[in-house]
């Protein structure tokens, strides 16, 4: 019946060729075009201002605003009520879902920028855990002869360093995320949760790269994974949830108190020695082990060793304590963050 083409340039226009033109059918045709335009390109208004109807001698340009009844499009427009929030607020997960592309782009930015203008590039993702592993092997494995549950010490340490690095990186980045993204927060609206979430997720790439080396090491030491490896994603998620939970608290606190930035290194260092990275949690007496699980990273790391190497015991009560602790920190962190975020733009 009719065909429309769009010529791009400084102005877009739609040229419509009518074979049978009658003045009476015009409103119907126009509303059809309008619907089509707003569906496909969301600029129906722009296009219809330059509507040329040819094939007849009639050439006509009709501005859309004159034709639409104002209430017609109103219902389709998203309505937002801006008002002071009171009491308990929702987590705004629906909003977060709508901004998932922003989450993707911010994560992508963090990954892309991380090793910009470095000579070694992504090799850094392997170098750090590798050298830490070598140092640990030398001092703890060889000299101090720390027991490693019958696993070759380098493998024992590296398996723990993987989730540890993921956690430490995610924690540090997310804690500083709000402050380092203050130029965004003071200029544009988006769900503020996107910021720490993106910096946590960016750590996964380093993790994946460093994981390749682990596969090589497992082949070297001829360690065959068991079915327990299927639980690995769970432990990765647990590590991320721990980092995010603590990161949410710290990033919101960091906005108010910049002390957080300086405390952070200390926290991470302290936490490393409190976690079974260089040693095994079996050093802790069995009846105290559930309490050891209060450090969620204990559950995560022992879970990693079990899932990948399969030689140690499955972490039992200790793991469940860790899961509960993480859930508490995460949910608390989410609500604390949401409560604090409304003042971010004013205070940061």
């Amino acid at each position: 019946m009719l065909r429309h083409t769009r010529t791009s340039g400084s102005k877009s226009s739609i040229v419509i060729y009518f074979s049978n033109w009658s003045k009476r059918s015009a409103p119907a045709i126009l509303s059809w075009i309008r619907a089509d335009c707003s569906n496909t390109c969301n600029r129906g208004a722009a296009a219809l201002e330059h509507l040329y109807i040819s094939d007849m001698t009639v050439t006509e340009a009709t501005p859309l605003r004159a034709m639409t009844s104002p209430s017609a499009g109103q219902s389709a427009l998203p309505h937002t009520r801006i008002e002071p929030s009171k009491g308990w607020i929702s987590l705004g997960l629906k909003d977060l879902w709508q901004y998932r592309e922003l989450l993707f782009f911010l994560t992508w930015r963090d990954i892309k920028v991380r090793y910009q203008q470095t000579a070694l590039g992504v090799a850094w993702a392997v170098i750090q855990p590798l050298f830490t592993m070598l140092v640990f092997t030398l001092f703890f494995g060889r000299l101090a002869k720390v027991p490693s549950d019958g696993i070759p010490y380098p493998l024992f340490a590296y398996t723990a360093l993987l989730p540890w690095q993921l956690f430490a990186y995610a924690l540090a980045e997310s804690s500083n995320s709000v402050v380092s993204n203050q130029n965004l927060i003071t200029k544009v609206y988006f769900p503020r949760l996107v910021v720490p979430l993106a910096s946590v997720l960016a750590g996964l790439v380093d993790f994946a790269i460093a994981f390749v080396l682990l596969i090589g090491m497992m082949a070297w030491y001829q360690v065959r994974p068991t079915m327990a490896i299927l639980t690995l994603p769970f432990f990765v998620i647990l590590a991320i949830a721990t980092a995010l939970g603590v990161g949410l608290w710290l990033s919101a606190l960091n906005v108010l108190y910049r002390d957080v930035r300086y405390t952070l290194n200390f926290i991470v260092q302290f936490w490393l020695f409190a976690s079974p990275v260089a040693y095994s949690s079996t050093l802790v007496p069995a009846r105290w082990r559930p309490f050891y699980g209060l450090n969620p990273m204990a559950g995560v790391i022992e879970g990693f060793r079990w899932a990948l190497l399969g030689r140690t015991q499955a972490p039992g009560a200790m793991l469940w304590v860790s899961v509960v602790v993480v859930a508490a920190i995460l949910v608390g962190g989410l609500y604390y963050y949401r409560r604090m975020e409304k003042t971010f733009a004013d205070v940061v």
């Binding site: 201002e49 605003r65 109103q74 998203p78 801006i82 008002e83 002071p84 200029k187 544009v188 108190y257």
Partner: protein
């Protein structure tokens, strides 16, 4: 509720003074926790509510207005009047303290162009990142990508990290992304001060296009010319409150009139605090209307402007350049005195602005003392200001005349050929 884009009801925003300037440290919080019980007891008797009111600063108070769809609303007001706070609330960056606002449609803001640009990323990457930050979907950005690049005129450098861009390219790219965002409601804050003149013109044109496409725009600017050209309606904020709202021309004129600070004379009695340096020091700048004292300066009044300063270095070639600006921040003209070697001592330059030259409006004077006809050695802005009002009305035109100046020029009017009645009637008959 049919065709409203934004409605504000009693919007208010309170800042606590002190909280904003510096972030607190944990130590402060701890010491406060220990000292506040004590303070609580000691100051309970005193009226603490009064002290609390002092620390509060209302950036906005009871702001209500409504914008129809497709309307271009300008917001004017002096610095600190709450313009930016209002936009921040409407774009949901910060929450209002009380009141509420309703918006219908997707909101985009150009509060500051280039938000979220990362210097290490290429132009291409930044377009996608920035687009996502501004709320565009990925397919939307991809569809407009070529258009954005062409608008910014950075085709050749699109895969170069933006840290290697010139500042002009950077700003153009940033604006291009923001300008291709297609929200129903757009906030623009002072973006027109960026880029060169040609690009500014392009931006104004783009804004005009956007408004013709039926979008709602809130436009915050000090550029009265741009505001007058683009806006249908203007809200004037003063100290967080709406002072006036209505037709753009009327409100802007009202605003300009109220804010015209006539300052016909600046005298620096104290040689130590006067603006200057080891070479020259200002003494006084005066505007002397050549009229009976007390009469206002009209467009017909000749003006004499005197600049006096001390010269400390004998036999320096000095002259004074005067820059006359109007309140729309347009430089009306620059004029310079003769340059000649001046002895040490008090020097005075006088310039005359003839009557029937300036247009009605407010003007302020910036001055430069120039050495050797080449080097500015003293720059002093806003030394005097004056207002020119309409004189007796000539003809039947009572509106404000456009233009930065309104010179009386020599016109000659003559009749080339009398008669000719037959010709015009003949043409009428033809048509």
């Amino acid at each position: 509720m049919t065709d409203v884009a934004i409605r504000c009801e009693g919007l208010a925003k309170r800042y606590r003074i002190g909280e904003r300037e510096s972030y607190r440290t944990l130590r402060d919080a701890i010491t406060n926790a220990f000292t506040s019980p004590h303070r609580l007891l000691s100051s309970a008797a005193r009226n603490s509510s009064n002290a609390r009111e002092d620390r509060n600063f209302w950036a906005l108070k009871d702001v209500s207005f409504e914008i129809k769809r497709g309307e271009v609303l300008g917001i004017i007001g002096r610095n600190g009047a709450g313009k930016s706070t209002l936009l921040k609330i409407l774009s949901r960056i910060t929450e209002p303290t009380c009141g509420y606002a309703d918006t219908w449609g997707r909101v985009g803001s150009l509060l500051e162009v280039g938000t979220g640009f990362h210097p290490e990323l290429t132009g291409r990457d930044n377009i996608f990142l920035n687009g996502a930050i501004l709320g565009m979907r990925r397919f939307e950005i991809a569809r407009k990508f070529d258009e954005i690049v062409a608008f910014a005129e950075v085709e050749r450098f699109i895969d170069t990290p933006v840290k290697r861009y010139s500042s002009g390219m950077y700003v153009r790219l940033a604006f291009a992304v923001a300008a291709h965002l297609e929200p129903e409601i757009l906030f623009v804050d002072e973006v027109l001060s960026v880029g060169d003149a040609a690009f500014q013109k392009k931006c104004l044109g783009k804004l005009g296009d956007v408004s013709r496409e039926g979008r709602t725009i809130i436009f915050v600017s000090h550029n009265m010319t741009a505001l007058q050209r683009l806006c249908t309606r203007v809200v004037w904020l003063d100290r967080g409150k709406v002072t006036d709202t209505g037709d753009a021309r009327t409100v802007i004129d009202h605003y300009l009139q109220t804010n015209a600070v006539a300052n016909l004379e600046s005298v620096w009695e104290d040689g130590l605090t006067a603006p200057g340096n080891e070479r020259v020091r200002l003494r006084s700048v005066r505007v002397l209307p050549q009229t009976n004292s007390g009469e206002p300066i009209t467009v017909h009044t000749p003006l004499r402007i005197e600049f006096s300063y001390f010269n400390f270095v004998p036999e320096t070639t000095l002259n004074v350049s005067m820059l006359l600006h109007n309140l729309e921040e347009v430089c009306v003209f620059v004029t310079a005195s003769d340059f000649a070697p001046r002895p040490a001592g008090l020097i005075r330059h006088t310039v005359e602005i003839p009557g029937d030259f300036l247009n009605a409006g407010s003007y302020y004077v910036n001055m430069i003392i120039v050495k050797d006809a080449s080097t500015g050695i003293l720059f002093q802005n806003n030394v005097v200001a004056f207002e020119v009002v309409e004189g007796e009305v000539v003809g039947n035109w009572y509106g404000k005349n456009p233009g930065a100046v309104r010179p009386r020029l020599n016109w000659r009017s003559e009749v080339i050929e009398a008669g000719g009645l037959e010709v015009s009637t003949a043409r009428e008959q033809n048509t």
